[in-house]
């Protein structure tokens, strides 16, 4: 169960830029630890929608989270821009491990890094099913980008 080390931007094949919000900061004056997981599920779902064609309202297959982890190296704080890097750590038949890097503004080294594991299940039965082709192709496309 080793966490990905804080890494540099080229290690990630897909990026989404988010504007941090006032309420993201806690009493310590930087983004609250839990909020990073909101960045994780935002970049993962945006990727699934944009590249994998996921219809979050009607798709018969949905991703459910079975594990998430984050290692915090440096704080980020509102009003920083949050650059979320995404790559595929491990691709199975019905599950995928995403690895996410959180980069502050133009910094090259991740301020935090972690992972997020999805199992794809039938929306009705909740049973695991193979990852839909279009989504799998999206994963493969950024895995190739990772390798390049």
């Amino acid at each position: 169960m080793s966490a990905p080390k804080a890494e540099e931007r080229p290690a990630y094949g897909y990026f989404l830029e988010l504007q941090s919000r006032w309420m993201d900061n806690d009493l310590y004056g930087h983004v609250n630890n839990v909020t990073y997981y909101s960045y994780f599920d935002t970049v993962v779902n945006y990727f699934l929608i944009e590249k994998g064609g996921l219809d979050i309202h009607n798709a018969p297959v949905i991703g459910v989270v079975v594990e998430s982890q984050c290692n915090y190296s440096q704080p980020v704080a509102y009003p920083d821009m949050i650059h979320c890097g995404l790559r595929i750590g491990k691709l199975g038949n019905s599950s995928v491990r995403y690895e996410v890097g959180i980069f502050r503004n133009d910094e090259q080294k991740a301020s935090a890094a972690g992972h997020f594991v999805h199992v794809f299940v039938d929306r009705e039965t909740n049973k695991p099913v193979p990852i839909p082709d279009q989504i799998k192709d999206a994963f493969l496309s950024i895995m190739k980008a990772d390798a390049a």
């Binding site: 966490a3 630890n33 979050i56 459910v64 998430s68 982890q69 984050c70 915090y72």
Partner: protein, 144 residues
Amino acid sequence: MTEYLDWRKEDFPFHTRVETRWGDNDMLGHLNNVVYNRLIETVVVRFTMGPLDIDWQRDPCYPIVIESLCRFHQQLSFPETVTACLRAGRTGGSSVTYEIAIFGEDNERPASTGHFVHVFVNKETQSSMPIPEAYRKVIEAYQR
């Protein structure tokens, strides 16, 4: 490596009850994954303010989180009240790992398990420092 599925409430010396709220559910009809991490943070914070009695204003040091992990075993939903349970795990010179299990209203098995790692830092220098002895004694009393 799945012994955490057998964790029971009685394995944990510190419990806190948390009411869920309407907005905690996401569009799939159960608590959003981020909210589970909020529950983990909540039991840790209640432990630090209760048994550990940390005073953020007065004390020369405070804990910051360097790692958190959450495993999702069962779905929880508003409006249930959940019980978040904590025990102290491994301690280092300046860090402590809390082990956490979250239980739904009607279940003996944990809906979620995970951990949360705190490092004590000096308020002035922002660098890590040994766990103050008074805190260490309390933490050790909550190890199982």
